[in-house]
Structure formats: structure tokens, C-alpha cells
């Protein structure tokens, strides 16, 4: 039994490596095909993220953001739900945090930062919690409802950022910059890496501890992976949907807070673009294990930063992120995986 489990796990790891490898190849082909000097572009792609403090720091920073959001995907998944509204939760969470960071000019910076983190987490949590509650109470499918909430919220945030909250002294479609004492301290200047990476590690440890080492985590896992068995064991699986989904949204909102207060120092229109999908890719690569998110996020962030910088140097630049994500999504659950998406399978078969 244990050796079989080990085998499944190593198959799963193999699947992740294949998916990442294919994504890297796809990105490399794109980069080389569009560059005037393919070799130079490939060097930029694979080595720049490691080559300078600036790129290394930015890669680590983007890995930290992805990890926090991916933790949210993992929690929702463990409880047997799928959060497809990450993009909107990150966006709204970051915006709510920004509003707090721009208010109370006389208050202490650290306290305002804490309040902003709370506001971000609450906003994301409420957005997602609505979907969780609708599922638990009325059986409204959370995949579709969370996605629709997210795409309804996006334009509202767009409007607020380019309208009422816009800093008119600035040419960007963005809010004003936050005061210097309201930014998360940077650790690897001149990159955008801030202490958010430390919080990301703490959050991973906390989630891993709760999910894998406590009775609550066990109950959530049983309820999520086999609801019928859970019901026999006296666990009501529907009980965990709302809290797990709210927590998932809260982590996405927190990722939004880290993005505005740590990475950007302001809230610009569409800042969250792609983080949500990237986080799902990272959670898939990490096979929904909190600890495995660390290598998954690092590898994924390296791919993303690399292809972005290589594209910037070429004349014909386009976004490679979604193609990299697509390659990961396409291959990551192929047969060599031991990853059992029982919830989604049940969903797909439901219409009997």
C-alpha cells in the first residue's frame, strides 16, 4: 500500500515535470520564433531570471504572490470545491486594500498596512464566500457562480480605478502612490521583492499544518475527496464548503494586498491580470499539496518572468503568459498523473 502510494506520488511528480517542461519548450519556441536573434532571446529567456538581483527578486516576488493565491485554490479543492473566480477576488482584494492604504493620512503606517491586509482578505473572502454559501444552501454550482462573480466585479474595479479613485496628477490609469511608510519593506532592492515572501512561507506552513496534521484538516479532506464516506463517518461534507471557499477567497484577496502594497506601490487598472490563472496552474503543478507549491511556484514564476523579459527585447511583443498557462493546463492532468480530480469528475458526470 505504501509503495503503491509512493508510486502514485512519483507518477504525479513526473506529470508535473512533463507539463512544466512542455510549457518551457512552448515558451522557448515562441520566443525564438519571434526574435530577430533567436539564440540571444533564448539566453535572455532561460538565464536572465537568474542573472541579476533585479530579475531574481522579481521572480521570487511573483512566486510569492502565486503561492498565496494557489494556497487558496488548494484549500477550496481539499474541501471538494473549485474556485474559478480567483482573478476577481485578487483584483477586488487589492483594490479594497488600496482604498485603506490611501485613507487615514495621520494614522500609523504599520497599523494601516494591517488594516489593508484585513480589508483585502475580507473582500476576497466575502466574494468567494457568497459562492460557497449559495452552493451549500441551494446547490448553486460554485465553478460557474464564482467565475461570474469575478467577471462582474472586474469592470466595477476597472471603473473605480480609472474614475473616482484615479490620481489625476498621474498619466497611468491608477490610484495615487501609497505613502512610503505604507509599503511592505523591500528586501532585494532594486527588485520588487518585499517581505510578502516571508508571509507566503508562513502561510504555507500554517495551511500545511492544518490540512495535513490536524483532525480538522483530515475531516475536510475526507469530506472533499469522498463525500459519501464522510457522511457515513458522521461528517457533513456541505459544512466545510462555505468556510473553505471563504478562506480560499481571503487568500486571493491577500495576494491582491501583497501585489499592491508589496509589488506595485499603487493600484493600477488590471493589475491582477493572469495571477489567478497562474495560481491555478501552480496548484495543479503542486498537486494540491501546500509544501509542493514552493517548487511549483518557483518554476512557474521563472518561466513567466523569463518569457516576459525575452518578449520585451523583441520587436513583436505579445503576452506569452496565457500560452504558458495553457501548456501547463493541457498536460498536467494527463494519465501519468495520480491526481484525482474527483470533485470535477463528479461534476462532469452529474447530468445522468
Amino acid at each position: 500500500m505504501t509503495s503503491e502510494r509512493k508510486k502514485t506520488k512519483s507518477f504525479a511528480a513526473f506529470g508535473s515535470v512533463v507539463a512544466l517542461g512542455a510549457a518551457a519548450v512552448a515558451a522557448a519556441v515562441l520566443v525564438a520564433a519571434t526574435a530577430s536573434d533567436p539564440l540571444d532571446a533564448l539566453r535572455a529567456f532561460f538565464l536572465t531570471p537568474l542573472g541579476s538581483r533585479w530579475f531574481l527578486g522579481n521572480t521570487l516576488d511573483s512566486a510569492a504572490l502565486l503561492t498565496v493565491a494557489a494556497l487558496g485554490i488548494v484549500i477550496a479543492f481539499r474541501a471538494g470545491t473549485f474556485n474559478l473566480g480567483g482573478e476577481g477576488q485578487i483584483y477586488a482584494g487589492g483594490l479594497a486594500a488600496s482604498v485603506v492604504l490611501l485613507s487615514y493620512p495621520n494614522a500609523n503606517g504599520t497599523i494601516v498596512l494591517c488594516a489593508a491586509a484585513l480589508a483585502g482578505a475580507l473582500t476576497g473572502g466575502i466574494l468567494a464566500g457568497t459562492s460557497g454559501l449559495l452552493k451549500a444552501r441551494f446547490g448553486v454550482d460554485e465553478l460557474i457562480s464564482s467565475f461570474l462573480v469575478s467577471s462582474a466585479v472586474g469592470p466595477i474595479a476597472d471603473y473605480l480605478i480609472s474614475g473616482p479613485l484615479r490620481d489625476s496628477a498621474n498619466n497611468l490609469l491608477a490610484t495615487a502612490r501609497f505613502a512610503p511608510d505604507r509599503l511592505l519593506p523591500r528586501i532585494l532592492e532594486p527588485s520588487t521583492l518585499s517581505i510578502s515572501v516571508v508571509f507566503a512561507l508562513i502561510l504555507i506552513a500554517a495551511v500545511a499544518l492544518v490540512l495535513d496534521r490536524t483532525a480538522l484538516g483530515f475531516r475536510i479532506r475526507v469530506a472533499g475527496s469522498s463525500p459519501k464516506f464522510a457522511a457515513f463517518a458522521g461528517i457533513d461534507p456541505t459544512k466545510y464548503w462555505t468556510p473553505a471557499f471563504s478562506l480560499s477567497g481571503a487568500l486571493h484577496g491577500l495576494a491582491g494586498f501583497f501585489a499592491v502594497a508589496g509589488t506595485y506601490g499603487l493600484c493600477h487598472r488590471g493589475f491582477s491580470g493572469g495571477i489567478g490563472w497562474g495560481a491555478i496552474a501552480v496548484a495543479l503543478i503542486g498537486r494540491n499539496s501546500p509544501i509542493a507549491l514552493i517548487p511549483a511556484a518557483l518554476a512557474y514564476a521563472w518561466l513567466e518572468t523569463g518569457s516576459e523579459t525575452a518578449m520585451l527585447s523583441s520587436e513583436l511583443s505579445f503576452e506569452t503568459a496565457s500560452l504558458v498557462q495553457a501548456a501547463v493546463f493541457l498536460l498536467v492532468t494527463a494519465r501519468f498523473s495520480g491526481w484525482n480530480l474527483s470533485r470535477v469528475r463528479a461534476f462532469l458526470r452529474r447530468n445522468r
Binding site: 515562441l30 448553486v140 465553478l143 495553457a326 501548456a327 480530480l341 462532469l348
Partner: protein, 272 residues
């Protein structure tokens, strides 16, 4: 007013019928959004190259059908998760269309060309009406339709009767892809231009419409028309200038969410 509502319902109905076919075969058509994007772009490109909108639409439908078939075959062969693979298609469609647009036409923006005309409301309204009638007929009156419904409801029964559920599933994906691509083409020919992001979540709304339409071809058409009417009202509101245009972009999703929630709750109440 009515022709314009019918015309804006057409892309939703076409994609919705595609979603209905996938739904009946037992999976969720998460990929509709991606195929609408692809179809909208391919229709523009093929029309520009050939000079004929008919060739443009056929190319969009054919390419999409091939990809849809291939996806089903890939899922069958590798045991990959069909939901995640469908999300991959959505991401790939956006990325690939952007990339090809930049590489071939040098822009990520709106594509306009005199050889790609705006076709007016009639052609796609007629095409859509024919599609709905044909689908309703095939589903309820033919053996193929019965077997497709069996694929989703009870694949074992189909196997015992000598049918192959995998083939029905693959075919339903191919048809759904082609119909969604035609829906995308309808968006292109309404204005005679390809606009990036022009699909704007219609593929997801089509999924909701399948559900609102009681998983029935005429129901899908009725739900889409009701939806388009609501969109029309919002367009009028936009014209009066009291509501900022950016905000209105979220309205279709919000409306779909409310309708989806309310019908689910009503249905849960009734079945109790």
C-alpha cells in the same frame, strides 16, 4: 429593435446549442469561450484572405471542429481531466490569437479590412434559427439524438446497444466547437471587424443559458433571446449616459449570475 435583439442573441444561441450538445453527452462546455474567440478571429482572417464570408465562416467552423475532436481524443487517450483541458483551450485561444495577430498583422488591436464586410442582422439570424430547428429535430426524433442523450445519462446502456459513447462524446465536442466558432464569427460579421476581447464572457453566459433553457434547444433559444433583450435595455441605458460604459461591461455576467442563482433555487424548492 426586435431584429437587433435577435441578432445579438444569435451568437449566444449558437454557442448555447453547442453547450447543450456537450451537456447531453455528459460534460460541461467550459471551452465555448475559447472557441468563440478562435472563431471570431479565424472568420475575420479567412474572409480577408479569400474575400468570401462563407469561406471565412466555414474555415472557422472546420478548424474549431478539428480542435474540438482532437481535444476529446486527447482526453480519451491520456485520461487527462476534461475540465482542465477545456480551460487550457480558453487560455490558448486568447494567447494564440494575440500572438498570430501581432505576427501576421502587426497589431494586438481591432482588425479592420475592406474585404471583411458587416453583414447585417439577417444571415446569422436565419442560420441560428435553422440550427435550433435542426438540433431540436435531431435530438428528439432521430436515433443519433437518442444515443447522444444516452451518452450523458447512461453510457453503459449505449454500450450494450452497440453504440460507442466515446465517439458520441468526441462528435459532440466537435459540433459544439464548430457552433461556438460560428457564434464568434457572428460577432465579427455584425460589425465587420475583429475586436480582441469582443467575446467578453459570452461563452460562459452560453453555459448558463443551457441551464436556464432546461437543456432543450428551444429553451436555449428563448433564454438567449431574453438575455439579449436585457442586454439591449442596458445598451439603451448606456446611450442615455447616466451609467458609465465601463460598469456596464460587468452587467451581462451579473445578470447571468442572478438568473442562474434564482433558477437553481426555484428548482431546488420545487424538487423538495
Amino acid at each position: 429593435m426586435i431584429p437587433s435583439i435577435l441578432a445579438s442573441a444569435a451568437p449566444l444561441i449558437l454557442a448555447g446549442i453547442g453547450g447543450l450538445l456537450t451537456e447531453l453527452s455528459g460534460s460541461l462546455g467550459v471551452f465555448l469561450e475559447g472557441f468563440m474567440t478562435l472563431g471570431s478571429f479565424i472568420a475575420w482572417t479567412a474572409t480577408k484572405l479569400s474575400g468570401s464570408p462563407i469561406v471565412g465562416c466555414s474555415a472557422a467552423a472546420l478548424v474549431a471542429a478539428l480542435i474540438g475532436w482532437f481535444m476529446a481524443a486527447f482526453v480519451k487517450a491520456t485520461g487527462a481531466n476534461s475540465f482542465i483541458v477545456a480551460l487550457a483551450l480558453n487560455l490558448a485561444a486568447n494567447g494564440a490569437v494575440d500572438a498570430v495577430s501581432v505576427l501576421a498583422f502587426g497589431t494586438k488591436g481591432v482588425l479592420v479590412d475592406p474585404s471583411v464586410p458587416a453583414l447585417g442582422n439577417a444571415p446569422f439570424t436565419v442560420l441560428t434559427a435553422l440550427t435550433v430547428l435542426a438540433t431540436a429535430f435531431v435530438l428528439s426524433r432521430t436515433r443519433v439524438g437518442l444515443r447522444l442523450r444516452a451518452t450523458g445519462r447512461c453510457p453503459q446502456a449505449l454500450l450494450e446497444r452497440g453504440g460507442n459513447p466515446d465517439r458520441y462524446k468526441a462528435a459532440s465536442w466537435a459540433f459544439a466547437a464548430a457552433l461556438a466558432a460560428l457564434g464568434g464569427a457572428a460577432l465579427t460579421f455584425r460589425v465587420g471587424a475583429y475586436a480582441p476581447g469582443g467575446v467578453a464572457g459570452r461563452g460562459w453566459i452560453a453555459l448558463v443559458i443551457v441551464y436556464l433553457g432546461f437543456r432543450n434547444a428551444f429553451g436555449v433559444a428563448a433564454a438567449a433571446i431574453a438575455f439579449a433583450a436585457a442586454e439591449y435595455v442596458s445598451g439603451v441605458a448606456q446611450g442615455t449616459g447616466t451609467i458609465p460604459a465601463t460598469l456596464l461591461l460587468g452587467l451581462p455576467s451579473a445578470l447571468a449570475l442572478i438568473l442562474f442563482t434564482v433558477t437553481t433555487i426555484l428548482r431546488a424548492r420545487r424538487s423538495k
